[in-house]
Symmetry: D2
């Protein structure tokens, strides 16, 4: 179900970049959960373009209107509908693209799939589509806080090209990440990363990188055997974010270099709880959380929109050249950090509700 | 829905490693598709242990019985039920594990989730669970051949630890892969890989590696915008396979090192079709296939079962040591190759049916 | 999934009677289908209160705004979001009801379920909730016209209390039904029915009745064996409409009086097609349409809101009396006619798309 | 999803009347619930043909084999697979039907849908298909007993043709119903009903009737607003049973004759609980249970198989005559009683689990 995510805590999103607006219906939200509009707006603001001179100058207020499902600050148990109007529409800027397929964008594939495209700006493939996800996750975040306080979900820029930050997932704080415009967790790397992004932008080019995310204090037992393993649902969630090309959890691809005796996480009783003394599993075993920190990484390709002339074809099948001239980010990673957190939050909230239906009553 | 995979072409699997049997219901299969039991059995045999001296000596016939949904070699459009009996049961071999959690296995997390465990051998976390997937995919494969002949889906061992094979996804053949017990696509590496696996097994240890997979001649237009992107569903499919820790498509994690101008795939008209002259996208753009080969890689951790003594705890919370003594593979990758193909086949068949409902009629 | 209806052609609805608005996301709609806003608004106007002096005086424009998914009069294949603002809010009128449970309304059961209620007017149990259904079905209607022209779906008031209309489902026209405010298909009964409704309203009381619906020119083959039989999905659709208490198809409850030889519909070849010479099956056999007219009836109880004092309890558990004083219909059936048609249209469109995925290719 | 029923407590069924067997996978069952094979077999025996001289002489043991999901009498939380082998296969008896469409059976519509039919006996439209439902519900029944002891679900034959039993849903017992072969709740009518069935059978004809069902001690709060109303899910469940033509709850169609003041159920505080002093609502208000007994009725048409010659057509389009000569019931109602109970049990168990995810935590 293309525009629906989640089994019990479900979001349904809609909206193109250039139409009446974008939004989300959140269904399956438990009743009587305190939810504030301010917390939703705060997350939308984190996702928004124009927050620093590092990211796209397109500036939209992205003001969220809650249409239903919440009364006097409490959820009613009914669908929560949130609408964000489109305001900054400059369709003219995309004119050429309407007939020339932008390389490594979704113009051609949407056309191949539907035989029709949104007029401009990428339609559902636009970054604005993620507004519905972030709004939905902002509600999920408040549900988590209410049902199971203490779960922390933090993401940060781990690397831009070959420039890698050094971050300890167990101790990094939101304060550190949000204090710099590149949203890395390593203060020593901030300037280096900013310089790289500025240089690449000056060249009309773009860069990608890796975002790392940790879920701390997740209770053991979340995730399902077989197909809906927690890491499988996280992988799907992350690969559904535009521009992602990879996902790894715990030891990931590097773990393939180790032997079993090096890789296995020994169990020990610590403070009366079952713990592992290493965490190459990344907090999941057999698809189910084991109570350790869940740590994963997501690869983002360099932004497809560049200012350099490229070879392409028209929708009528002629070879041509295209020079980008719309609005764009030279590096989407700082803005993608809250989106990674949002998708992780949705997965976790859904599985927390799912576990309520499976758990053996005692 | 834990044991269900797919939206339109759906499999529902069941079965523990040590009970009456394992199996699958395939629902949503179109009618009048020629399906042979022999093709199903062939895939089950590829997945089976005991095929070479490289893999686990546990030898089970894994004979598939078709209980419903097929008559005179044609699908009826009704659910196809396939059962594989468990025959080689030696519960005694797992006795110690019933009370000691095996490190980096699912023993502890199943217990945390359900408060109860299958008696032995891992229950649903056992490798036998994949029988239902492989049987379901063997039917899907025949559906693909009928609805859209020519789609090829091939996987191979790309690396074991640091030993990497050189394989061209555009030209590698099933013949090459199946001709060696390690199922790599690089004949020059066969002996090296075999030696590594034998050495590690002799040491009572285990190794992991990377499996690469290509889908050739996929029509453009498969996959859905937003959440059910083709790469997102592939990522979920792959991370649902036991022992996987990572997924990447196209340029993957290495693509994060490039700039946009290096990474973008130029479009050109070739033989009257829209093509890209490079394929860093890995065959998908905006979540939708673009007609190029879909290429992805899956990271498998070293097998958790080793013959070396390890620190662990009991289900009653006491620190202890565990020495593995059950049946195991020192390297699961050769047997995982058909499972990677199976999951890819299920994703593709499902999206092929989904596209039938979306496509604009012309 | 409480607020989602349909498997492939899906609507997700939201909205309370007294909040920002009500609306719907339509997902799974094929691309390139011509859809006009005027056709959507026309159906919303048919559902709207205040159309005649027979129904509730609450007058809301119910103006639909299309937020996404349609461009230049064609569907994009992406989610279509439609919003109808709430405008005529007089919460004061419902003050007493906020603390006294209205008999045979949903006030008590919502409270029992969620521990919280919408501030006034019934929340999701309000008749305004059906706006999303009608808007979604208005799009579905245009999809039907495009994919399979000629399918007619007509409903009418069959009876009010014991006053029964005589209507031939094979020949009744929309013109006849829409030409009278009570929306019956029997011109001879119009005055009698109007008088009954007016008399009952003057008494501060209410009445119910039966709505009959026909689907003409439905192709054979729609509906699924076992659980998603066409009549099962129609039954669910109809019983999901507020105030319904029964559903019957074809011979229905009266058919239980016949013997098999009286009830069976003989097959004959007519004009080269397989036809039945009677239609006690009501157009479905084994859950699948047989090409004959699908005829069913829906029982609506008398409206729960009356102006006569009734015994009830408060939300704090005290016995009390309640005299209704809000806005209400003495008879909802005329306004329910387009809702019955809407739900039937949604079921049929969904099954038409589903059949595209099952049909044996020839 | 044709062969799947339920959202959280889900059954997936399979199997034709004449193949390897029929069965069910039960997914979403909570862990650590005591489940006995004997209780499953008992329900299957109630459904089985050949229990008395009133029903079809086809005698099959219908022995259930549990393949997975249960260990030492406790559910594991994993899918429970139950298989019942087909044993009494006499395909010859159906030979003529393979080419002549049986009137008011599903032969023609299956052919229209799939372009292929099971070889004989109705395929998925056979009564044997209900075995999977009954086995699944027998597990659900034990889940209900464990999670919420005290809920009673009882069905009985309310009428055969015009012969109506007098039964009080509040007091009727399983003992009364099961003590007579016609499974009515009115001892005074047993002989009359039996005579009618025997007479109609002697004439080679068949009869239908109405089954009534009560759910007693259902907690308030089950069922969902809007589409998944408890009565909507019950209606779908009942209309999915072969040979059903109607469903009504509480006052049903007769309720359309009343005024609102006659129909509304007054609330009163009784023994500290909110109760209604009448129950025309039938235990549901606004789609949600109110704690009163849920009472509904299901119309069954006369069995389509009769021994009298009928007009029909062949699958190649020629007019012909058909005289039934297979095995059949002159009246399916006694055997349908446990199936009605089974479907009601599945609906209730599913909604009980669903309510666990919605309820406001206090």
């Amino acid at each position: 179900m293309s525009s629906t995510f989640g089994q019990l805590f479900r979001i349904h999103t809609y909206g193109e970049s250039h139409g009446g607006g974008v939004g989300v219906i959140i269904d399956g939200c438990p009743s009587r959960v305190p939810v504030t509009a301010a917390a939703i707006q705060r997350e939308l603001n984190r996702r928004r373009p124009g927050q620093s001179d590092l990211v796209t100058p397109r500036d939209e207020a992205d003001a969220a209107e809650i249409l239903s499902g919440i009364h006097d600050g409490l959820t009613l148990g009914t669908p929560i509908s949130i609408l964000v109007r489109n305001t900054d529409q400059r369709p003219g800027a995309y004119d050429e693209m309407a007939v020339k397929y932008r390389p490594s964008h979704a113009d051609y594939t949407y056309d191949a799939k539907y035989g029709i495209q949104a007029p401009s700006g990428g339609g559902r493939a636009s970054a604005r589509e993620t507004i519905g996800r972030v709004a939905g996750a902002a509600v999920a975040r408040q549900v988590l806080d209410f049902l199971h306080p203490g779960i922390e979900i933090l993401a940060w820029v781990k690397s831009i090209q070959e420039l890698a930050a050094t971050v300890d997932p167990e101790t990094v704080t939101a304060g550190t990440i949000e204090s710099n415009p590149v949203r890395t967790g390593d203060p020593a790397m901030v300037e280096t990363l900013i310089e790289r992004i500025k240089a690449i932008r000056a060249a009309g080019n773009s860069v990608g990188g890796v975002i790392e995310c940790v879920i701390r204090h997740c209770p053991p037992g979340l995730g399902e055997p077989v197909f809906d393993k927690l890491e499988a649902d996280l992988a799907k969630a992350m690969l559904s974010i535009p521009a992602t090309k990879g996902f790894e959890i715990g030891s990931g691809f590097a773990g393939t270099l180790l032997t079993g005796s090096e890789h296995n996480d020994p169990f020990r009783m610590i403070d009366g709880r079952v713990r592992t003394t290493s965490n190459r599993s990344g907090g999941v075993q057999g698809g189910i959380s084991n109570g350790e920190s869940i740590v994963f990484r997501v690869a983002f390709k360099p932004t497809a929109t560049i200012m350099i002339s490229q070879k392409t074809v028209t929708s009528t099948g002629e070879n041509t050249e295209l020079a980008g001239k719309g609005r764009h980010d030279a590096c989407v990673l700082p803005r993608a950090v809250p989106i990674v957190e949002a998708m992780a939050t949705l997965v976790l909230t859904d599985h927390l509700l799912r576990q309520r239906t499976h758990r053996h009553p005692r």
